[in-house]
Every structure is written in C-alpha cells, then in structure tokens.
Symmetry: C2
Subunit: 392 residues, 2 copies
Amino acid sequence: MSETNSIINTGLRGVTVASTKISHVDSDASKLIYRGYLITDLAKNTTYEELVHLLLFEKLPSQAQLKILSQRLASERAIPETLIAALKTRPKTALPMDVLQAAIAMLANHDPDAAKLTKDNTEDIAVKLVAKIPTIVAAWDRIRNGMEPVPPDTNLNHAANFLYMLTGEKPEDQTARDFDICLVLHAEHSFNASTFAAREVASTRAHMYAAVSAAVGSLSGELHGGANSRVMEMLITIDSIDAIENYVNHALDSGGLIMGLGHAVYKNGDPRALILAPMSKQLGERIHNTKWYELSTVLEEKTKAAFKARKGIDIYPNVDFYSASVYYSMGIPIDLFTPVFAISRIAGWTAHVIEEQFAGAAPKPALYRPSSAYVGDYCGPDECAFVPMDQR
Amino acid sequence: MSETNSIINTGLRGVTVASTKISHVDSDASKLIYRGYLITDLAKNTTYEELVHLLLFEKLPSQAQLKILSQRLASERAIPETLIAALKTRPKTALPMDVLQAAIAMLANHDPDAAKLTKDNTEDIAVKLVAKIPTIVAAWDRIRNGMEPVPPDTNLNHAANFLYMLTGEKPEDQTARDFDICLVLHAEHSFNASTFAAREVASTRAHMYAAVSAAVGSLSGELHGGANSRVMEMLITIDSIDAIENYVNHALDSGGLIMGLGHAVYKNGDPRALILAPMSKQLGERIHNTKWYELSTVLEEKTKAAFKARKGIDIYPNVDFYSASVYYSMGIPIDLFTPVFAISRIAGWTAHVIEEQFAGAAPKPALYRPSSAYVGDYCGPDECAFVPMDQR
C-alpha cells in the first residue's frame, strides 16, 4: 500500500455519536460523573457491587437490592469446566488479553439464551459477565503458570475474591478495599474506544458477549488499555530517584512523553489520580516498600516542572500513573494490568450495550454505518479498465 | 433503565470518518468499485486469490505474483492441532459465529508475532487469516456433527478447498467457480458495521487478530450479516409459488419488509444481485432443483409490483437475496451463511486494518474517540448528592 497523505482519519474527535445517561466526563471541571454521582463520592463510599447496580440499573441500591445483586454476582462467578478445558489448550505464552477476548466469545457457547435480545436477558448476561470475567483472568494466570485455577469463594466480595483466585490467598481487608476502589474508579469513562467498539457491535443486534469480546479487543491496543503496564515498565527501567531527572530530560529532548502524565480528556487533572496517589503511598507503607510510590511522586514533580519550564503548560497524572504502583504492590503481574482494567470496565461496557440496544423510543438501534471518502486514484479520476492476466 | 426519548443515536449516517483507497460504493450509479475496478469486471474475470492480492497489495497480480500468493494461502490453510482441541471443547449447540469470533482471537495465541505492529507483519497476518478462516468454519461444522475435520487440500484453489473441507467431497468445477465468484462479490463493501468495528479496534494499535475477531462479532448481528440466512428461512416458510402473493401482502400490510429486497445503500439496484440471480438459476438447473430460484424470482417480481403499487417506489434485490438460494443449493447449512460471508469479507477487513494502521503520513492512527452528549437527569440539571445506604 503506497504511503500517501491523502488518507485522512479524524478519529471522530469532536463528533457526537449518541447521547448517553451513563456517564459524563467534564473535562474543564475535571469531574467524572456516573449516572449523576461524582466519582470522588462513589470511590469513597461505595463498593464495586453497589457501583454495578448504579451503572446497570440506574440507581444506587438499597440494602436489600445490594444483597440480591451481590448474591447473584457471587453465584455466577464459576466458569464452565469445558471453558477451563479450552483455556488449557492455549499456549502458555498467549497474551492474557487475547485469551480474555476469546474466552468471552466462548462464554456465549454455554448460554442457550445468548442471542435472546430482550432487555431482561441482556441485563442477566451483563451480571454474568461482571461475575465471570475476573474468574477467567485469574484462571488463565494460574493455568499459564502450571497451576490449577482457584475456584471462586462466595464468602468474599467481588474485589477480594479476584485477588484470592489470583494468588490462592485471602487478601488483607485494606488491600481488598483498595482494589475495590480501583474497580470503582475504572468502571466507566464514556465513549472511549473500547466502549464505542462494544456499542458499535451491539448496534447490529449482536449479543452482549460478541460486543464485550470486541471491547476487550479494542482495549488490548497500546493506545488504549496498555498505559498503566507501560507506566510500571518505565518505573522499573528508571529504578532509582537519582535517574529521574535524566530520564525526563531525555524523554522530552527526543519529543517523547512520560507515560501516565497528561490525559487527552481532563485539562486540569484526572480526579481518579487524586484518589490513587495516597492509596499507592499507604499501600507501599503497609507492605514496607514505598519505592514505587516514591519514584512515581518524584517523577510526577520533575515532569511537571519540566513541562512548565519548557512549554509553559501544566500537566497532571492520569488514572494510569498511580494505578501502576498500586497494582504492582498488590502483586498483580504487569501483563494483567489491562485485563484488570477489563474486570472493572465490564460494568461500563455492559451498561452501554444495554443503552445502545434498549434505550430510547425506537424499537431498534440504528446500526453504525459511517461514510468514507473514496480517494482511490489507481487510474486517475476514472475507473480502471480491466487488465487481463497476460497483460499485467 | 427508564425508557426515554432523550437518547439519540444517529448511527453515524452521513458522517465521513475517514478517507479510503480500498473501495467505493457509488449508490446513485449502482457501482461497486474495489481499488479502481468495477465489481462486475472482477466477478467475471478474477478468482478470489487475485482479488485478495488486489485488496491487500493494491494491484491485480501478475501471473508470477498470483502463483506466490496462491501458494502462501494454500500453505497457511492448516490450523493448529491445539486450536482444533479447543474447538472440540465447545458445546455442539454453539453458534458458528460465536465459535469463529473466539477462534480468531485464539489464533493470536499461536502467532509469536501477533502483536508486532509492522506493516509487513500485519500483511502476513492478513494472508494467514484469509487462509485459515475457511478451515475454522469447516472444522467447526464437522466437529459439531460428530466428525473429524477434513484437512485442507493444497491442490484445490481457495473456493474449492472450502467446499471440500465442509463436505469431504471435491466440488464440481462449475460449483467451485460459482462459490469463487460469491467470495469475490462479498469481499469488500466500504465502511459497513463490521469493517468499521475492525478499523475501530485497529485504531488503538490492537493487533489484526483482535480487530478481525471484533469484526466477526459485529457481523454476527442480525441487522448486518444475518440477512441471507433469513432470506432462505423465508423461502422455506413460503415453500410454494402459490403462497407468495399472500406472503407479500401480509408482510406489507403489517408494515414489514421482504428480506433481501431493497438496500440501504444502492438506490437503483445492487450490482452484485445481477450476477447472483443467473448463477442461482444455472446452479438450480445443474442440480435439478430450481425451486428456490423460481420462488426467489417470483417473490422479487411480486414484491416489486406491490411496492410500486402501494408506495410508488422501485425496489431491487440486494446481494443477500439470490446468495441465499445459491448457498443452499451448494449444500451449505443455513447457519453457515454468515460465516461464509466472513470467509469472503476477511479480505476487506484485513485491507482496512492495514489502511487504518499504516496508511497516511502520520506515524500512528488517531484512536477513534467520539463524543457523546450526557443527558443524565437523575438529580435535575445538578449532580446528585451522595445518599448513604441507610437512607436509600
């Protein structure tokens, strides 16, 4: 394919594709709102289970509603034995996001109602996917390390159970709560690429599993879900506070960026980072290793100062910057950071699929079918006359 | 989620999201152009292998180039034994499109270079996917019917080999050529929903497998890929020419449509249908069963007349209308019609992923990140004050 300047691709920046009641990213005020509520309030006060209720069913649950949803989620955590058998056929080097994308599509095979496109059934599948995705991620990590998957423990809440299935050990209460908050913080972020992929697939009246599998594929791209893994790899590369100044200057001299600092959306800082930074600090203190927090905080300072000095602009950490040291300190393998993102974001994806397929007055959604501009100039402005094989 | 009129969703109709050199759908002139060439010329004169060269490498191949590509495709047809083992774990009731979506994501597990985002490597993966998708579809059909997959035969061309793997018998030459033409006709159609899904996922710098798996998910929706299956189901329901008049009147009285007649894009008829109609006739004559062709042609006439009489508009058959009877007459199971669509469209999807990731002057594509309008009114125009659990 010839390199050409004539291909344009705006990435739909600034194009409003739909209205939504699910979330609002207020980039000027640095506010993130899930169904009316500020993320700062939700992170402080709710569990992930409560948040799932809010996103899927539009309301913070009453105590009774929360109990019902929590029990449903716990009872749906197990994945079919034959799905585990399928995972065991996979090469141990398989990328966890690829395995997850496939496993979610395979979950449909076990659901006789997969393609039943009613709102109730689609909500049921949403609950199943929220429940089962952590089990798939943990099972794959065990299998690739030559161990049997740890069955879910219905006595643990959603966050604690994932860490338990991953490590085989019940996490400390505060660590489980920290992870719970991380799940709340990453659960939803409007029409980002993976959510848009889910809605796009759902718009054809494909089922929830197909849409969510596609979203996982979109999240697997390094421009989308890979950022906090790369923050951690960067911290490991830098390794010592003494090396930071040089690292920052070198990156900026060569026109690069510092991963996790700056956000395409929030102009005045990401509200989620303000919650994650102290969490990283306290978590480091509890495990007696504050190295990654300290590196992060000095890197943030030095990068901020360098951007201010060189370009006169203020930059801030985004959600990926401190979640890197948080997940690493919890013992989560770096290449599971993006699957962990999916474990949280499934709440947003499923809420968006439900909205795409069932909200509004129209009985059916309008299939996404954008236009493109044909700029093929293979035979000038005209069509090509067909050239028989012997004349090519 | 409350029903509301405030959710709008335009489906991106009329929004130009990118320029492309791959294909042009000229809706007024009823022309479909692949890289400069008219579909009518290509269907008459080229094989699917030639077409893959045109779509992926921008040129109709010379004899030498075609030989090289054909050999590469043939040598890449086999799928890993452990992927077949994974397919054997699947419930036999699994929907073929769900199995295909998962299997394509799993193919990445076997490719150590899956995530190597160079143009050469991405083109290599495109060739592998074109080669392997028919093998997956045929293998799954054999497995669900309790049979062993038929290994690909490198002495057969792409089209003939698929029919051979599906049935275990080498097809007649004319049937193989008819299927070859069907593959040419369905290979590409600009920014339809599945292609857009592939491009959307690729825009995050996810790899080709992730993007194509997502496209399969999008195609699985009944508004997109399911149409020719439903045409066939309709023909089977109608069953006799005598029943057509009533069927058409009943459908139109109740505000319905006749599947396969009318196209959202072509105003004056789909050029592909003009090739498929005589193919359906001749294929029926060869197998001594013209029933489905005859039903189709009378249904077309009666529906045309009814639309003209009632609404004063001309409608035409689209690509799905006669491909239904063609595939059915070839012995392809109805629920494989959409996977067969994927077997062809993989050429277009992969060409679009390559264009999305590597065309143009910019080193990286712009991630698709559209905007949305937040219309949440949970607490009026203001944010909600957080309500503690005991007050809900």
